[in-house]
Symmetry: C2
């Protein structure tokens, strides 16, 4: 795995409320619909997404406040998702979810680090990963 | 607030175990002592730190697994810490901890977003923030 984080996803209970809060800090979403809001943060992305959907997606028990959070590591192909999950498992990770087709046209799985912190490993064909690992929406 | 994240801190229960795990993924710490390990991730930093210390530092109840996580926004002066906390409060944040001198020679406070996700706002005189907001250890 390259040494980088692609996204930090905050599980939230009210997308409008959360989006207004971060916009009130002076930030501008790069993308927003009724399910998700993305803020470009340098070469990475902060996502606001339903905590229930996040828990379901990651095969986690419904997370308490403020525990609903996931990091993501985006890769350049589906094969790389599977290979990265194997690599993480060999490093001692627990696989939460094997590589699976996603509703948004991509492919992703999840592993948990030794304390259970969830990492999504994802291939999103709509997002370009620069040679330095940064992503831009 | 500029649109960026400086650090993601994972609250962990066994620093050696966690550090070994992330090193087994192929990553190299930029700094490590018996309390904390930092990995440089592009223009930001991933920190591994005691979940108990993190909860204490952020004035949070001892967090469950996998809920022990904090984001950080590093700024260029102590005055900017205080100003950012005011700005966050005006945006609707709950202040968890006012600006306070830290044991590592800096100054920091915490706010919580509408779902309770903790953000540290910190001035670390030993770390340089580039004009684009990125930090390098």
């Amino acid at each position: 795995m390259e040494q980088r984080i692609s996204l930090v996803t905050l599980g939230i209970s009210d997308l409008t409320r959360s989006s207004r809060f971060y916009e009130a800090l002076g930030w501008t979403p790069a993308f927003a619909n009724e399910h998700v809001v993305f803020f470009q943060m340098g070469g990475m992305v902060l996502a606001l997404w339903s905590r229930d959907e996040l828990a379901k997606d990651a095969n986690l028990p419904a997370a308490g406040t403020p525990g609903a959070i996931a990091l993501a590591y985006n890769v350049r192909s589906r094969a790389e998702v599977d290979a990265t999950l194997v690599e993480a498992q060999e490093a001692g990770a627990r696989i939460l979810k094997a590589g699976t087709e996603t509703p948004w046209g991509g492919y992703s799985g999840y592993f948990a680090d030794p304390d259970g912190h969830p990492w999504e490993v994802a291939h999103n064909p709509a997002w370009t990963i620069a040679p330095d690992g940064s992503i831009r929406i």
